[in-house]
């Protein structure tokens, strides 16, 4: 396909998804309104808009990861998705986590992925088809999973508490060195093992080639 048509397809696809979501929520809204789990909120504020933007970023990025043909586009979409998630962490009073997300995930993992993409460059064309089940199976699965998850997410009356936003770095630090010291140390051990392991696994066999 030519780039223009691809862009068109993408826009259409995204619009379709958004429309689906809107329609779904329109259907769900009265139930939402009636369900006890949803607090009757006030007028729409900037907070909400930004939230929606970040959410769209995260989900859209994920959609790009799922659906795009080009592996580089996939990586890029992952980047956006991770960014969106990081932004959402801020909303959830997890500032340190947000930063850690950006640093580690985007700065480390995504770079690593890019490295891998580059190193395995011969895949020029990326298509979705899966030999055994194809994307139909995946879609089916998703059609099953998604409503389920959404149902759970929306219908269950979570006992929500008043949630003040606060800085968490100090608390996190304390937790890591007091309560969660052992997992902390073990995590470092795991990282060491990973380091060594990755090197061992990835190196070329020098003996018999």
């Amino acid at each position: 396909m030519r780039p223009f048509q691809k862009l068109l397809a993408w826009s259409a696809g995204s619009l379709a998804v958004i429309a689906a979501v809107v329609v779904a929520s329109a259907h769900v809204a009265p139930a939402l309104a009636a369900s006890p789990g949803v607090a009757k909120g006030g007028p729409v504020t900037l907070v909400d808009v930004v939230f929606w933007f970040l959410a769209a970023l995260a989900v859209g990025g994920a959609a790009g990861v799922a659906l795009s043909r080009n592996i580089l586009y996939t990586s890029l979409a992952l980047l956006f998705s991770l960014l969106g998630v990081a932004g959402l962490y801020v909303y959830l009073s997890a500032d340190f986590i947000a930063v850690a997300q950006v640093l580690i995930y985007i700065g480390g993992v995504l770079v690593l992925i890019l490295f891998a993409v580059m190193l395995t460059n011969r895949i020029g064309d990326v298509n979705i088809s899966n030999a055994s089940l194809g994307w139909a199976g995946g879609a089916l699965l998703m059609a099953v999973v998604t409503p389920l998850v959404l149902l759970v997410a929306i219908e269950v009356p979570w006992r929500v508490r008043e949630a003040p936003l606060s800085a968490t770095t100090a608390a996190l630090g304390h937790a890591l060195l007091q309560r969660w010291l052992l997992p902390f140390e073990l995590a470092s051990l795991i990282l060491l093992a990973t380091l060594i392991g990755a090197i061992v696994i990835a190196r070329k066999e020098l003996k018999a080639d």
């Binding site: 899966n130 030999a131 055994s132 089940l133 199976g137 699965l141 099953v144 999973v145 389920l148």
Partner: protein
């Protein structure tokens, strides 16, 4: 002589303890010789075998003599010795014991059997000396004597029948003694089979008699049975376990009350029937079965057994063939003892026969016909033993004439005399056969008087006896029979009185006497006079050697044994074959005990000649027992002796003594006529008349020579259908029954195959299917193992989803 019947009481019985020894000794001898004979013979020689056999016979004779002495010492009305060993069988009304009884009749039989039996055993030691199966012969002989003693000493029908069958068996064994020869074996089989026919009739008669006696005591309206009320004096046996019997009137001195009812015991039967006051005899006389008088049927059926055993028409055909056996066998069994069992049986049951004139007429008629018929066949036979065989059949006919017309003691007397002279004749023929090196054809004999003087004289004396010349016993017995036949008035046929039957039988008897005399003297002249015609081709091998010790053998009487018999075995003077008479001294043959090779006949050894002399003496001396009343005005000795055993009353016409003497003269005259013609035609073999007559009447001659083709008739009518039936049944068995069996087998195989198929395809199929399914399932499921991550991830996801769902839905 006459016993008023109402004076007769039950038999007085004396118990003794040694009667069982009489049959025991021969049984032991048979047992020992059959089990150990062959070893004894090998180890100790033939002597051991015959010493045992003869020893046992002698012991038996000794015990018999003792019994005789004891019996003789008793009063005439009490002569009955009894010994019961144990009860053999009880089944309802039927019961019999292993018991022996000796009354005058059976005592006489026992003495004949043991005495003549012992003599013949002695004879056999000489005659059978070359036989390798010596031990078997003597074992069989002893077995025969044992069975015969059982027959005559048994005190009941069952034991008598054991003996009856036993002698049949022994006869079979001995006739086919040389069984490797098919003809001899066939002769044995013929004897046995024909005897069986007779035994069948005997059994039927016995059953009928037993059934008759078991008449119902109370009249029963619903059952047409032989019901009658017993006469006065009877009463049921008190508390008896046996409701079948009543008890008759007690005789004054009898120890046993008379038992009335079905019984197999001779004494009980006699008591019931003979004693008038029991009413049994009257009752039996009036019974009818199938339109015939019952006692007639019983009598005739029992006589059928006698026909078989004693070789009367039509069951005589086995006796001539039985000559295939060794000569001692012919003498003992087929002349002196076994064939007389029928006569014994009729005499024993005299009181039963006296109840039925029809039965008696039947017996006498058959006897007379047989006598005449057999005599005619004997005219033209060439085999000396066959002549004697037909003579036996004929003389048995005479005996049955005697018992048939009611002269029971006369028939029995003839039995006694016949035993002596017939045994003498047979043994004499045996001696001749031996001397002529096993030649039996009279045409090959001749002139043996010079070579075998003792044999010749004893044979002549026996011929004299059988022909019925005075002062030899045959005269007395035969004339008594014929006289009584003429005087018989009680005979009947099918219930109609036939007073002419007696004289008719008399006439037949006279003619038969002529014939008897003729053929017997024919055999004598052909064998002993003239020139020796036989032994062609053998004479050159040996020197003739007249024994210088032998004088010309003409003795006035043969009562004394030859006193110049050579201890080496008695060689007959052997002469030149053709025409040398009287030579100088010749070298004596050494070591010839018996004739085996050599061309000239010779006298037999002492064991043979001594016996011949004794028997010839007996033939003469037995006449003392039966001197007729017409001569002495006393009852003959034997008649007086036998009277207690023969209580039957038969009506005879009365004639003065002079008539009787006249008839005796007639008898002698008939015999003289026969002798005259025999002498004319056959003395010295010089006459050409026999040959001319034969040529002229050749057709008639052929018919008679071939025994009127009776054997051929039997073969066509009886034997061939039986064989056909046997073959048919064999075919049936092979094709129908075996087909069924094979079919069943085929079915079985079919089912088995089906089962196999089921097993292979269904059962194994199921098992294999399970395995197959498992394999296929595995193969199918292996496709999950794609090796691809994606598939596994799908699985993982689905699985976890399902878990969550289940948790969610089913809480």
């Amino acid at each position: 002589m006459e016993h008023p019947l109402n004076e007769l009481g039950p038999v007085v019985v004396h118990q003794v303890s040694y009667l069982w020894l009489i049959p025991l000794f021969p049984a032991v001898g048979a047992f020992v010789n059959s089990l150990f004979g062959i070893r004894l013979q090998r180890a100790l020689g033939k002597r051991a075998v015959h010493l045992i056999a003869i020893g046992m016979m002698a012991l038996s004779f000794a015990v018999a003599v003792r019994a005789f002495l004891e019996l003789y010492a008793l009063a005439p009305g009490e002569r009955f010795l009894s010994q019961t060993l144990w009860r053999m069988l009880t089944a309802g009304p039927l019961s019999f014991d292993l018991g022996f009884a000796l009354d005058p009749l059976s005592m006489m039989m026992v003495l004949i059997i043991t005495f003549i039996g012992t003599l013949i055993h002695v004879f056999s030691t000489g005659y059978m000396a070359d036989e390798p199966s010596y031990w078997r012969f003597f074992a069989y002989l002893n077995l025969f004597v044992f069975a015969m003693l059982l027959l005559v000493m048994g005190d009941n029908f069952a034991l008598m029948f054991f003996g009856w069958e036993g002698v049949g068996l022994a006869s079979y064994l001995l006739i086919s003694f040389w069984y490797t020869d098919v003809e001899k074996a066939k002769a044995g089989m013929k004897a046995f089979v024909v005897n069986r026919f007779g035994d069948f009739g005997f059994i039927l008669g016995l059953f009928l008699l037993f059934w008759t006696l078991g008449g119902v005591w109370e009249p029963r309206a619903d059952v047409r049975s032989l019901a009658y009320h017993p006469e006065i004096g009877t009463s049921a046996v008190a508390g008896a376990a046996n409701p079948f019997f009543a008890v008759g009137p007690k005789a004054s001195e009898g120890e046993h009350p008379v038992k009335i009812g079905p019984t197999l015991n001779f004494r009980e039967l006699r008591d019931q029937v003979v004693i008038e006051s029991t009413g049994v005899a009257e009752h039996l006389k009036h019974q009818r079965v199938w339109g015939f008088a019952l006692m007639a049927v019983v009598g005739i059926l029992l006589f059928v057994g006698a026909m078989g055993k004693s070789a009367q028409i039509p069951l005589y055909v086995w006796l001539p063939d039985a000559m295939a056996g060794p000569t001692p066998v012919s003498a003992l069994i087929h002349a002196a003892t076994m064939v007389t069992a029928g006569v014994y049986m009729v005499a024993r049951l005299s009181y039963l026969y006296a109840l039925s004139p029809t039965a008696m007429g039947w017996v006498a008629a058959i006897g007379g016909l047989t006598a005449f018929f057999a005599a005619t066949i004997g005219f033209f036979q060439y085999d000396i033993k066959k002549v004697l065989a037909y003579s036996t059949v004929s003389q048995l006919g005479f005996m049955f004439v005697g018992v048939g017309v009611g002269a029971f003691w006369a028939g029995t007397y003839h039995l006694l005399t016949h035993a002596f002279f017939k045994a003498c004749l047979f043994l004499g023929s045996g001696s001749v056969i031996l001397g002529c090196h096993h030649e039996q054809d009279m045409r090959q004999m001749g002139g043996l008087k010079k070579h075998m003087p003792i044999t010749a004289w004893t044979y002549l004396i026996a011929c004299w006896a059988i022909a019925g010349f005075p002062w030899a016993s045959g005269f007395y017995s035969k004339d008594e029979i014929l006289w009584k036949a003429f005087a018989a008035r009680d005979l009947a046929f099918l219930g109609h009185s036939t007073p002419w039957l007696g004289p008719a039988i008399f006439l037949l008897g006279i003619l038969t006497a002529t014939g008897t005399s003729f053929y017997m003297f024919r055999s004598y002249y052909m064998t002993f006079t003239g020139r020796y015609r036989g032994g062609a081709g053998h004479a050159e091998e040996h020197d003739e050697d007249p024994h210088s010790a032998h004088a010309a053998p003409h003795h006035a009487t043969a009562a004394h044994p030859q006193d110049n018999v050579d201890p080496n075995g008695g060689h007959g003077a052997a002469h030149g074959k053709k025409d040398d008479h009287g030579h100088g001294a010749h070298a004596a043959d050494a070591g010839h005990g018996h004739g085996h090779h050599g061309g000239t006949p010779h006298e037999s050894p002492l064991s043979i000649t001594a016996v011949l002399v004794v028997l010839a003496a007996g033939s003469v001396l037995a006449s003392l027992l039966g001197v007729p009343a017409a001569w002495t005005h006393h009852e003959p000795l034997l008649e007086r002796w036998l009277a207690p055993s023969l209580p039957a009353e038969v009506r005879f016409a009365e004639f003065p003594h002079s008539t009787e003497i006249l008839f005796q003269g007639l008898g002698v005259g008939a015999a003289v006529v026969g002798w005259f013609f025999a002498r004319l035609l056959f003395k010295d073999g010089r006459s050409r008349v026999p040959a001319d007559l034969k040529k002229r009447f050749f057709g008639f001659w052929t018919v008679v020579y071939n025994k009127y083709y009776v054997d051929e008739a039997y073969h066509a009518v009886v034997v061939r259908p039986s064989l056909f039936l046997a073959r048919f049944l064999f075919w049936f068995d092979q094709h129908v029954i075996d087909w069924l069996v094979n079919f069943a087998a085929w079915l079985g195989r079919l089912v088995a195959n089906i089962d196999g198929a089921i097993d292979t395809y269904v059962v194994d199929g199921a098992v294999n299917a399970v395995a197959g399914i498992t394999g296929e399932a595995g193969r199918a499921l292996r496709r999950i193992e794609t090796g691809r991550i994606t598939t596994y991830l799908y699985g993982l996801t689905l699985g976890s989803l399902l878990v969550v769902l289940f948790n969610f839905l089913f809480r």
